[in-house]
């Protein structure tokens, strides 16, 4: 049952990452990977929120491991950071790495704080 819930969550999260990335890029004509940054921050906030709530294993498998896990990505983030460096966009590359980590931590922290306030 846990595996089925992970499959369901991930089957929603991964296409949503693609669609969100596409939607963000359509509004910004820049090589900076705003789309991936956006989904990673949003997914981090949501996972932080979920982990601070008293949820059952099933909900965590579906929404945490499956949905948030597949919505966010380290491989695309890593590849983009390396490609920006390869293209000579050193500032964008470093800014992407630093902004992703700092904003991701901040978002997850805020998510946890909000959950603790309402729980």
């Amino acid at each position: 049952m846990t595996l089925l819930l992970i499959v369901l969550g991930a089957a929603l999260g991964a296409p949503l990452r693609y669609l969100a990335d596409r939607a963000v890029q359509a509004r910004h004509d820049t090589s900076f990977p705003w789309g991936t940054l956006t989904v990673n921050i949003a997914g981090s906030a949501l996972l932080g929120f979920l982990t601070a709530l008293p949820l059952g294993d099933g909900v965590m498998a579906l929404a945490g491991t499956g949905f948030c896990g597949a919505l966010t990505t380290y491989s695309t983030f890593g590849y983009e950071t390396v490609r920006l460096m390869e293209e000579g966009a050193r500032f964008h590359s470093v800014a992407n790495a630093v902004a992703s980590v700092v904003a991701g931590l901040g978002a997850a922290y805020c998510g946890m704080a909000i959950a603790q306030t309402i729980a």
Binding site: N40, T73, S75, R83, A97
Partner: protein
């Protein structure tokens, strides 16, 4: 910028990527994402992290996924013309679902909360450095094996 994409998921600077949106593509991404997430769950189940311990499972999933994305992207953008669903299925889906950014940052915060800030900081930095080096290693190895000259 070259004609090679920067973004794995979708790079609208690449003409072919602007018109690729269709149901089979989303289905391939969903199926790949589900497989990748199951693989990550398998790694996490095999290597459970004790409270305040170094989250090895997520570290290994993220670093190995980064190595594989480097290999995959060089193969599909520099070595050969792949079927149009290969990158969406393997790159956006499987590797996107296998690796995770949200668990990485939440793991870090939970390790701090468990009273192990040094372990948390080591995990935060080691993942970033190892993942980026893994992408570079995957790309270079693949270029060398395939005999690709960087444009």
């Amino acid at each position: 910028m070259t004609d090679r994409p920067t973004d794995v998921d979708v790079d609208l600077h690449v003409p072919a990527r602007r018109t690729e949106l269709h149901w089979p593509l989303l289905a391939a991404i969903a199926a790949g994402g589900a497989l990748g997430a199951l693989a990550r769950h398998g790694v996490q189940a095999a290597l459970p992290t004790p409270s305040g311990g170094f989250p090895w499972a997520t570290f290994l999933a993220n670093v190995s996924g980064c190595l594989l994305i480097g290999v995959l992207m060089v193969v599909v953008t520099e070595v050969r013309t792949a079927h149009r669903l290969v990158r969406p299925f393997l790159g956006v889906g499987v590797l996107g679902g296998y690796t995770t950014f949200s668990t990485y940052v939440v793991d870090t915060l939970r390790t701090v909360a468990a009273g192990a800030p040094v372990t948390a900081l080591a995990y935060l930095g080691a993942t970033l450095v190892a993942a980026l080096l893994a992408v570079v290693a995957g790309m270079r190895l693949t270029r060398r094996v395939a005999g690709v000259r960087i444009r």
